[in-house]
Each structure stands twice: as C-alpha cells, then as structure tokens.
C-alpha cells in the first residue's frame, strides 16, 4: 500500500496544534515514516502545495480573505479535510467578540495604515467548507491525534468521545468543583478527551475543547446562577472558545 499523501497547514492561530504534532517526540519519526508529508511549512522547507492530498490537517481560524482562499484550495485538493484545534472547529478565541466590527477594531489599532489589508469576522472552517473530521481542543490532545492517525492509516475515521469532561472527571474521582466548590466549571457541557485535565489540577474547566453534543446548556446556566454567578460572568465564560456560531444558543436562554 502506498503511503497516504498528507498536508499540514495552519490558518491564523497560535500554531499550537501543529506544535502538538512536533511534540510527539517519541512517535514523530515513526509518523513521518508512515505518511508521505507533502507540506508542513512550520517544520519543513520543501513543500508541494499543488498536489492532490489524501488527508489535510488544518489548524486555525479564518480571519482574512487569504485564509479563506487557502482553505478553499485545500478542500479542492484533499479527499479528507480534518479540522485540528478549537480555532478550526469552533472559531476559538479570535471569534470571541465577533459582535464588534473588525474594520472598526482595525482602524483603532493600525490607523490609516490598516487600509492595506482586509479582515473578516473570525469563523471556523465549517462555515466555508465541508469538514470530514473535527478534533477539538486548545490545544488538541496528543493521544487523540495519534489515535486519529492510526485509524486513518487503517482506512477508518477515529471514534471520538461523545460524552462530557464531567464524565471523565467523575471517573477520576476528582472533587466536583461546580457543585461542591461552587466554581464556574464548564465540565458538564464540554466534550471529553482531556481526561478532565484542569479539574485534576483543582482548576475549573473553561471549555477549551468546545461543547459536547446535546449539551444541556440551560441546566448548566441554572446551576451557575444558583451558585451566585452573574449573567456577565456566565456569558463571558460560555463565549470564550465557541462564540462564533453560538452552538450553545446562549441568547435564547
């Protein structure tokens, strides 16, 4: 069997998800041995940015026309397009204040010099193209990435958890930060995969992995209100990583 042709690309973002790939120190040389990597500009000078690809991994948010053009081009070239990281999957932090006009912000920051480039409201990949698989996380978890690569090499899509961080937290028998400590924890509505990393360090879940399917947001909000959090605090926390497409339907609650 020939090695799958793979591209690894970053739109606008912190490059953290590409760095997770480079952080697979023990597995890196095996991974690159099993794949035919055509482009990974963060790590490799030579790249083929025109060829057809079996799989493309895309990190980052679309915040400018240049990002969208690149994304459309990648979609046309690739059989499977995989969004990696919360920015690519949900819009992430850059989309947090989409209610403000980008042009207005730009003018305030750059003055007249800002006229030479264009910005658009930050959006996740799925606003523009079909996404075949979403691996969320800020950053993605190394194990999920390796599991995905292993599945893809066998011709399958990986099974990602359909349950919440809360479930992982209970399984680890951590003290409940929401109910017992009254902290603003988003564990009940955030998708699992991190083994409840933050609660394990006594820190509330801030929702960096994005929402779990069928999240019971209204119930989460009720609990938070009972604990004495203001609407501003609750909304700020809920909107931090997934404001762009409002999957939590915050306004309607």
């Amino acid at each position: 069997m020939s090695k799958p042709k793979v591209g690894i690309y970053g739109l606008t973002g912190c490059a953290g998800d590409q760095l997770v790939i480079l952080n697979c120190e023990d597995e890196l040389l095996n991974i690159v041995g099993a794949l035919d990597i055509k482009s990974f500009s963060m790590a490799v000078s030579e790249s083929d940015d025109d060829c057809l690809l079996d799989i493309v991994f895309v990190e980052g948010t679309v915040v400018q026309p240049r990002d969208e053009e690149m994304l459309q081009n990648l979609r046309e070239r690739a059989k499977l397009l995989i969004a990696i990281g919360t920015c690519a999957v949900w819009g992430g932090l850059p989309a947090m204040k989409n209610e403000f006009s980008q042009e207005e912000i730009k003018k305030k920051v750059y003055g007249p010099a800002g006229d030479i480039f264009k910005t658009t409201a930050p959006q996740p990949l799925s606003s523009f193209v079909k996404v075949d698989l979403s691996i969320s996380g800020c950053p993605i978890e190394k194990e999920q990435l390796l599991q995905a690569v292993a599945s893809l090499l066998h011709g399958d899509l990986p099974r990602l958890p359909g349950y919440a961080v809360c479930t992982e937290c209970k399984m680890s028998e951590y003290t409940c930060l929401l109910v017992e400590k009254g902290q603003l924890c988003l564990g009940p509505i955030t998708v699992a995969g991190c083994k409840a990393r933050c609660p394990g360090y006594g820190q509330p879940c801030i929702g960096c992995r994005g929402p779990v399917e069928e999240a019971n947001v209204s119930s989460e909000i009720e609990v938070l209100k009972e604990k004495g959090f203001t609407w501003v605090d609750i909304q700020n926390r809920l909107r931090t990583f997934v404001a762009s497409i409002d999957p939590l339907q915050i306004e309607s609650v």
């Binding site: 970053g10 739109l11 606008t12 973002g13 912190c14 490059a15 953290g16 998800d17 760095l19 480079l22 952080n23 120190e25 023990d26 890196l28 040389l29 690159v32 990597i37 500009s41 963060m42 790590a43 490799v44 000078s45 030579e46 790249s47 948010t61 915040v63 400018q64 240049r66 990002d67 932090l93 850059p94 947090m96 204040k97 403000f100 980008q102 912000i105 305030k108 920051v109 750059y110 003055g111 010099a113 800002g114 030479i116 480039f117 910005t119 800020c138 950053p139 990393r197 933050c198 394990g200 360090y201 006594g202 820190q203 801030i206 960096c208 501003v232 605090d233 700020n236 926390r237 931090t240």
Partner: protein, 430 residues
C-alpha cells in the same frame, strides 16, 4: 544583478511571514519583513474580563512560549493587586519558564535552524543522515515539555499556574524524577555544544546591534528582572518599557515595530548572553567561551550558539531550583488569597525569543480595563530588516535562490514567532 527578491513564505518559522527586497540601480532601496499572519486582536478580547480569566486567554497568543506568556501575565495581574507570591511559587514559575526555554531552544536548534547550516531542508531530512543528533534534539525538546507538563499541567497552554500560586504543587517524587531526567539532558546539551561548535557561521549579515534584556539583582544569570539593560549603557525600570518599545505601525506588516531612540534593537538569547553572560556559571560558562560568545558579537547568526549556551544554563538552573525545593521541602500551598482592587501592573519575563511584557489595568471589581502585550518578535522586526539589508548588500551578486535561502537563514536565526508578533497592541475599547 537582481531587481527584486520576493520570498513569499518563510518556512520553518512559527507563523506566516515573507521577505520583500527592492533594488534600484544596484542598491537596496527597501527591505520589508512582511507579516501576513492574520490579526487576532488579543488585547481587546480581554477587556471587561475578570482578572482570573485574563491569563488563560492571553497565554494563547502563542503556543511555543505559552508558559512564559502565562508567567508574565500572572506577574502583571499580581503586580496590579499588590500581591507578592511565596518563594516556592516563584521557584516553580522559574522552573516552568526554564522548561519552556529548553523546549523552545531545542525545537529551534534541531528542527528549524541546524538543518540550514548543514544544508538540509528539514530535521526530517537531516534525520536520514544524522539520526542520532535529531533523536537527541527531540529528547531535549521532550525534556522541556516534561517539565512544563509536570509544573504547568500541560506542555502547551498550561493549566496549573494561577493567580497567587499553583492549583497543585509537584510531589517530591516528581521533582526527583525530573532531576534524573535533567542530569541526562545536561549530558545531551553538552553534546549539542559540540555539534554547534562545529558549524560554520557565515558573516554575511554582520552589522552593529543594540541589545536589550532584563537585568536582575540576583547573583546568577536569570530570565527574570525588574530592570531593562541596554548595550548602550542605558537602563530602565520595566515600568518604563514603552520608552524602549516605541511601537510604530508599518504598512507592510500586521505587526508593529519597535525602535529605541530611532534605532532598531535586538532581544533574545544572544542579547541575554552579551548583557548578562558574565553571571553564567558551571558548564554554561565554559560553553560561552568555547562557542566564541565571550566578546560582543554583531553577527546575529550566533544567536543559535547563544541558544545552545542557554540550553545548558536552563538545565543547570532547573536542577538548582529542584535542589532548593527539595532541601527546603515542598509545601502543599494553595494559591494566595488577596483583596481585589483597582490598579495597574506590569509583568516582564525573558521568553526564549526575548523580553516579553504584559501590562494590565483593572477596575475596583477586578475587571480588565486595558491590556498591552509587547512580544519579543515585535521588538526584533526592525532589527531583522536591518540585518536583511546588510545581507542583501553583501550577497547582491549571488544567484537568487542562494541569496533567498541565506535571507531566510537570517530571519530564522532570530527564531521569530510571528503569531506572537501579530496580536495587536494598544487598543482602548470604549
């Protein structure tokens, strides 16, 4: 003779940037380091946020140095509220920052930079002929990540460091284990110096530099400090950072640029070694002499050598910190409790690429009014353009392809972090 040189996309750096050089009548008319990473407007994102939400958002400006961003950010918050953390917390943060420095320098040296000097397009290609060296580089990188995971709770975007302290402090066993790994890493970092000392460092971009780095009262070399020292002899309190990082908008870039007294300046490993190198001890001190960085250098390509020296320093310093923690005994400390009040605070830390400043103002409820973050790469951009100009002038007669790869080498030597540079500064949201 070339009319112009355009490098669309510089590879093996973090983020999206290019180089444009204009040439008129055989002379360089303009040199632009183009930054087209999209802007993310980070500072306005945190306006109105509660003080404890600020660091988790702003650490995400950058992945490679998220640990340093976290520590600088926490120090700014604490400084605004007049909070002084315990010696144990300070030591653990120092350890986190050293872990980040080891990770970042190993990544840059082995995966991004050394392939240049040995004429390989990537570390992956380098591995086919020099598997042992690449494997060692990856192990050193992993050591940095292991420290960041143990102390910060995650290698990228740490979760455990918080305002006033740490969610969970490491156990004695974890520290013993880290120390064993560090001892092994020290051997590898010495081998790295052997490798770097064998590299031919070209001199096509030599030009006078002004260097800037934090300066501390501590007797040893440090990545912390309350003053900024410049190679001009000037010193400033970190509160006066804006007098140095005089930021200006330039039309070809999404990142602002910094000048000191109308001159570009450089920050980073090389600046630190030149300004604070006399404080180095142990193996790092020996490596400094061996790599020829004992005198002031105006060749930024030596930044790679400076990083190799700091790799040793960070490992030795991490061992020193662990020894102190083990000797005193690690305590089950919870984050400090404090009273929230209106105030302004600045946190500065030496990130792998140079001095990083976070400055915040909070209202009496502890909500953020204004944030200003100045990253090392933003400070270096004007100096990079200065060096690129010198390089083009020296290499004008070389074939375009060769010249282009040498220009990329100059940029890469600075280890730029373009995501960091493009996050946008000084926005006041009404």
């Amino acid at each position: 003779m070339h009319n112009s040189i355009v490098i669309d996309h510089i590879c093996r750096v973090e983020g999206h940037g290019g180089i444009t050089v204009g040439i008129k009548d055989g002379r360089v008319s303009e040199v632009n380091m183009d930054i087209f990473e999209g802007p993310r407007f980070f500072e306005p994102l945190v306006v109105g946020r509660a003080y404890d939400e600020v660091s988790p958002i702003l650490m995400r400006i950058c992945a490679i140095c998220s640990g340093t961003h976290t520590v600088a950010s926490l120090r700014a918050v604490e400084s605004a509220f007049g909070v002084t953390v315990s010696r144990q917390t300070h030591l653990l943060r120092d350890l986190l920052v050293q872990g980040g420095n080891i990770q970042s320098h190993a990544l840059h040296l082995f995966c991004l930079s050394i392939p240049d000097f040995l004429n390989y397009p990537s570390a992956i290609a380098l591995a086919s002929d020099h598997a042992q060296e690449v494997k060692m580089g990856l192990e050193l990188k992993k050591l940095g990540n292991t420290i960041q995971e143990a102390i910060g709770g995650r290698a990228i975007h740490p979760v455990n460091a918080t305002v006033g302290g740490f969610g969970r402090v490491p156990t004695r066993d974890m520290l013993f284990d880290l120390k064993e790994q560090l001892k092994r890493g020290l051997e590898q970092s010495l081998t790295t110096v052997d490798l770097v000392s064998g590299l031919q460092i070209p001199d096509f971009c030599v030009s006078p530099n002004i260097y800037a780095a934090l300066s501390s009262n501590e007797h040893g070399y440090s990545l912390f400090g309350d003053k900024i020292a410049l190679s001009t002899g000037d010193t400033k309190d970190i509160e006066a950072y804006k007098e140095i990082c005089n930021e200006q908008v330039v039309s070809h870039s999404h990142a602002k640029q910094s000048w000191f007294k109308s001159k570009p300046f450089a920050v980073g490993a090389m600046a630190r070694i030149i300004l604070n190198g006399q404080k180095l001890s142990g193996e790092a001190k020996k490596a400094k002499v061996r790599l020829g960085l004992d005198a002031v250098s105006d060749n930024m390509l030596y930044n790679n050598a400076a990083q190799a020296i700091e790799l040793i320093y960070s490992i030795e310093r991490a061992i020193e910190i662990i020894d102190e923690l083990l000797e005193v005994g690690i305590r089950e400390e919870k984050p400090l409790k404090f009273r929230v009040q209106a105030g302004t605070g600045i946190g500065a830390v030496e990130a792998p690429r140079g001095t990083l400043y976070h400055s915040y103002s909070f209202d009496e409820a502890g909500r953020l009014i204004e944030a200003d973050v100045i990253t090392p790469t933003a400070q270096n951009l004007a100096n990079i353009e200065k060096d690129l100009r010198v390089a083009v002038e020296n290499l004008m007669d070389e074939p375009k392809e060769l010249l282009s790869s040498k220009l990329e080498m100059v940029v890469r030597a600075y280890d730029p972090c373009i995501s960091c540079a493009v996050h946008l500064i000084e926005v006041n949201f009404e």
